[in-house]
Subunit: 395 residues, 2 copies
Amino acid sequence: MVSEKMAGLGKVRSVIREIFEYSKVRGAEIGPENVFDFSIGNPNVPAPAAVNETIKELADCGNDYWLHGYTSAQGDMETRQAIAENLNARFGTNFHKDNFYITCGAAASLKICITALFNEGDEFITFTPFFPEYRVFVETAGAVLHAVESDPATFQIDFDKLAAAINPNTKGIIVNSPNNPSGVVIREEAVEKLAALLNEKALEYGHPIYLIADEPYRELVYDDSLTVPYLTKYYNNTLVCYSYSKSLSLPGERIGYILVPDEMEDFGDVYAAVCGAGRALGYVCAPSMMQHVIAKCTGMVSDLSIYKKNRDLLYNALTEYGFTCVYPDGAFYLFMKAMEEDAGAFCEKAKKHELLLVPADSFGTPGYVRIAYCVQTEMIEKALPAFRALAEEYR
Amino acid sequence: MVSEKMAGLGKVRSVIREIFEYSKVRGAEIGPENVFDFSIGNPNVPAPAAVNETIKELADCGNDYWLHGYTSAQGDMETRQAIAENLNARFGTNFHKDNFYITCGAAASLKICITALFNEGDEFITFTPFFPEYRVFVETAGAVLHAVESDPATFQIDFDKLAAAINPNTKGIIVNSPNNPSGVVIREEAVEKLAALLNEKALEYGHPIYLIADEPYRELVYDDSLTVPYLTKYYNNTLVCYSYSKSLSLPGERIGYILVPDEMEDFGDVYAAVCGAGRALGYVCAPSMMQHVIAKCTGMVSDLSIYKKNRDLLYNALTEYGFTCVYPDGAFYLFMKAMEEDAGAFCEKAKKHELLLVPADSFGTPGYVRIAYCVQTEMIEKALPAFRALAEEYR
């Protein structure tokens, strides 16, 4: 009698959560320090000290009506202003407060954008590997998701495959750079090519194709030479979905935003549809105190040097042991080829060495595993002999 | 090209928000102290001191991974346990942690429940007057909302009208007690009658009819003799949607829960569908720090004596002036008959006296206005001569 689709979504645990549960059970058996759990993307680096300091100051402000009261549905004005100023200073953009709609994190941002854009028959495109919840958000909105295979050598966009997939029903393209799970950043020339292709197709079909940029990992890049292009500067019809989950290590606080730039075709309609979708989905406003924290802390980042250290340690060791890994420009995942065709079977063998890895089948890339390195460096060091032993098993 | 429905929802400001905006403009003209704004249900009573104290303690806990990290999708285990224990102590129930799903407030709770239950062709019923967003949540889920007229003398359920409205497509009944905007509490005998009717109809149609209890005002009742029946004790297929917005004065923090009791038919499916709907709608988890605050503060209430004082002051004065008001058992609204048929025109005349009232047409009750008394008592005292003058205009 309930919605079978919803009951199904509630019953099937994600692969990641299954492994996480196993980790707890196994930890109880042999001691948690002996289980090498690389399954969860929960940042282990604390929030910048200013976050908790700001929280304490706010709690003492003596104005609960302001602190804990409703903000406007778009979000607190000062918060939106602060975000605009920070982005403008960093990216040379010209955003203002009315380009922003504050949300309960990136998942909410994505779901709201998809709901705002969707009309019957619409299709969305993303690229493998992709965060599996994209499929949930798109399909439960009533739309179709096409996952276009990336170039298997670089995990950059395969433009021939993309061009073949775009059709008159294509409403939007979801891009995620730095990518979860590959860590790959889409390079500037690829962004330019993507913008040109979408403009050409939009002209051909007589309607815009929206670029939905899922950017929770924007600040998590580790090589100074590399910049993550700011997509609104390359393509007008870009909606940016941002979250502070990773940059400020606040994944549980559910705080982020949607950015609709002025250059967006029919800006007023798109922004209104974002507001309407937020309303329809039950999001009254984003958590108020955390909005006020963001007004002070937007643009700060947690200590990312730990992730860089972890990345270098893990990437260098695993490639030395004979594993094939995609070089991760950013995020905090290492994307590794399983040493046999069936990544699930490979992960089971890894489990025998107490290594908990995530098979990437649900990311649209069978034969690969995801290794989340947002963990203690000591755990990685302790786990390396296990990785070496795993590699030797396949010699 | 965007969803017209969503753009429409985003463009049309609610009547309440229109008045709120006018209030700011008018306040700038004549001084905010001279505008008597009774439009918004934003609690003016601060949160209990323990809330901000707990926030500060948590900010100092030194464990950001726990404090700001993801909780499970159902919500933090200790938080759910604390809620269960508090309800059991107050209502003699036997809830346990797995009856709860923590949400981003009552709007999210309602939207998630409706989405969890909905199948093509389903209808929901509510009673006038009702919170206008019910229509948004139900209709954007694809369902139909029937608003059954309440008994105009008492604003209790009219069972003849309800019986006539229930049909084989009826999936659920949304009740809101204490009611926004009437303040009326559904009495125990009405709850018993409702349970009997729903059981009878469920038997006749061969499927359950769910009772969705929207309860953000549960603790806001002012007469000691009056108890708000706990609906799961009367009807098994009850989903309780709760929010701490009013009891703890935290409307902006978006924190509440859905309660699915063990007695629920197909408990496992219903609970799973709630989890699935939360996932599909982009709710990853409720804000983590606020969940930990609730673990300590559930069951506390803000100083409600101010609302009682305001209610008595306003009700006694307005009835004395000749207005017809529904006696508000609880919540913080006074529901008053307009002195002419067109409540909008009546509110325009009130505006001339700087009184900002909300016409209740969008609540399904033309001819009435809502007066939110979650305001400073001094403002009510200052506004009384204006109410008197308004009444005199209609002599």
